[in-house]
């Protein structure tokens, strides 16, 4: 049995943005798994005036044997959509007159991401059917097919959590399990998209019909400045703690360490922390985050 290993996957390594945030990224594969089905991104946008964060958790069980691809596409398509959105959010900045249009765009984003993900999954499945070549549906004498051959995309199933952060606003979206935590200036953790404790390992998924309808969304303007710490993680992290408070304490502690020891120190320790968590949850464990950098150090 192999232990957890640090994995980078196709997710981009966090760059050091010239803006007000330093980015964190870490991932380990679950104990005894051949490879991780998690994917992530932490990306500075608009010369560092905005950040795009995303994690996706491919379901990983036998019924979802291509979910690593599903997670990869989820992050890639979200990033493509969110990067454009982030540039606009950075341009609007503190101009509240521009926020309604941003919110409207934020409402449309889940459907666009889900549609792009669905297109890629269908394209892939058409070229390489997950369940073998399907029989062609019967056509009548005019050549009309009664039932279109709709592929089952369960093999590609994945969750998705994404966020766009600027100095003035936060937009975030979540489909399925996993966590987004904001740690405010007072060290208080907030989970704006929490839907309560999960039972077992059930989750909503991009492979369901019209998944955007189940995508939760949140936005908030920052009147007192951006939160010093925004973290996104797959459920492998929170499920490794004996209770939810333990997970929140971890998030708060990570923010405090980043403030006290610097983000580079936290980044270097992150793989070990995640590996320890993966031993308890048994699952792939991935975390990305944006940590506010004090102005004098920028």
């Amino acid at each position: 049995m192999t232990g957890p290993e640090t994995t980078t996957g196709p997710g981009r390594r966090p760059a050091a943005p010239p803006g007000p945030w330093a980015l964190l990224s870490g991932a380990v594969k679950g104990v005894a798994k051949k490879y991780s089905q998690d994917r992530s991104v932490a990306l500075p946008v608009a010369q560092g005036r905005a950040v795009v964060l995303a994690v996706a958790d491919g379901h990983g069980s036998a019924a979802h044997f291509r979910s690593d691809l599903g997670a990869y596409w989820a992050v890639e398509e979200f990033t493509a959509c969110a990067a454009a959105f982030a540039r606009e959010a950075a341009r609007v900045g503190a101009d509240a007159a521009g926020w309604p249009a941003l919110r409207e765009e934020a409402r449309r984003l889940p459907q666009r991401v889900a549609h792009l993900w669905h297109e890629r999954a269908v394209y892939h499945d058409t070229n390489s059917p997950a369940h073998g070549v399907r029989a062609q549906p019967a056509a009548d004498r005019t050549g009309r097919v009664d039932r279109p051959d709709v592929p089952d995309l369960a093999a590609y199933g994945s969750t998705l959590i994404g966020a766009v952060l600027t100095e003035h606003t936060l937009f975030c979206w979540q489909l399925g399990d996993g966590d987004i935590v904001l740690v405010d200036g007072g060290g208080i953790p907030h989970t704006p998209l929490s839907s309560g404790p999960d039972m077992g390992d059930e989750t909503d998924s991009l492979c369901e019909p019209e998944p955007w309808r189940k995508m939760r969304a949140h936005w908030q303007p920052f009147t007192g400045g951006a939160p010093p710490c925004v973290l996104l993680s797959t459920d492998g992290l929170s499920k490794s703690f004996a209770d939810h408070q333990g997970f929140l304490d971890f998030a708060t502690g990570l923010g405090e360490r980043a403030a006290g020891q610097g983000v580079a120190a936290v980044q270097s320790q992150l793989p070990d922390w995640l590996a320890r968590a993966a031993k308890y949850s048994g699952d792939d464990t991935t975390l990305v985050g944006a940590i506010a950098v004090p102005e004098q150090t920028q």
């Binding site: 049995m1 679950g30 104990v31 005894a32 379901h59 990983g60 069980s61 036998a62 019924a63 979802h64 369940h131 369960a154 199933g157 404790p197 999960d198 039972m199 077992g200 390992d201 059930e202 989750t203 909503d204 998924s205 492979c207 369901e208 492998g236 499920k239 490794s240 703690f241 004996a242 209770d243 939810h244 333990g246 320890r276 968590a277 031993k279 308890y280 949850s281 048994g282 699952d283």
Partner: protein, 219 residues
């Protein structure tokens, strides 16, 4: 940090008919023999903590092992026959344990393992509804073994709650031992592996053991 619990509940038929041709003795033997392998299966996944309990049912139902016991400390005290086949009462006992609380929300799906050789003599459907009405009951991994030809296989299939699954059939001691061993190991491994249940049925049900052929059926 802590691993997540997997609650495993045996539900064992101790009706009078289990005394015929030594069925109850073979059941006790099979469970006792399966414990080391169950412990090995649990050890293979350190991310899950296997906790075992047992219910017996005959005239009424009661907890034979009421405390969720870590599998590495689990030992088997023989069960004995005592009357009818009040399976519904056993289901209601299990349903009480599947509520949250007492069962934590942070857990892996529990396992309900049922062994019976006859027809229920009480309102088993009411008991099954009670299980289905609990948050963990709906999500439980369910397995069943029909001991002998008189077991109500259609009822056991309904308990399984998945048209793709069939109850195991044990017609002699060797088959019963194989079924109990499979319930104690393969099912535990499956239940304690983090996975997603997005409402879709699994592509392939658990590999069920091939029961030994060419032996005399004595039950």
């Amino acid at each position: 940090m802590a691993s997540r619990p997997v609650h495993f509940i045996w539900m064992l038929d101790c009706s009078g008919s289990m005394g015929v041709n030594g069925k109850i003795g073979e059941l006790n033997f099979a469970i006792r023999e399966a414990i080391p392998e169950m412990q090995q299966a649990a050890q293979s996944n350190p991310a899950a903590s296997l906790l075992v309990r047992a219910i017996t049912f005959a005239s009424g139902a009661s907890w034979h092992v009421g405390e969720p016991t870590p599998v590495d400390r689990f030992s088997w005290e023989d069960v004995h026959i005592y009357g009818g086949t009040d399976m519904g009462a056993a289901f209601k006992l299990a349903a009480g344990a599947l509520q949250t609380p007492p069962m934590p929300q942070r857990a892996l799906p529990p396992v309900l393992a049922l062994a019976s050789d006859g027809q229920p003599t009480d309102d088993w459907r009411a008991g099954l509804r009670a299980i289905d009405g609990t948050p963990w009951g709906k999500r439980a991994v369910r397995v069943a073994v029909a001991i002998g030809d008189d077991a109500d296989k259609s009822m056991l299939k309904e308990f399984l709650g998945n048209p793709e699954l069939e109850p195991l059939q044990a017609k002699n001691p060797r088959q019963l031992a194989a079924a109990i061993r499979w319930m104690s190991t393969a099912v535990v491994k499956d239940a304690s592996t983090p996975k997603v249940d997005d409402g879709a049925k699994p592509a392939t049900p658990l590999d069920v053991p091939s029961m030994t052929k060419g032996e005399d059926d004595i039950w």
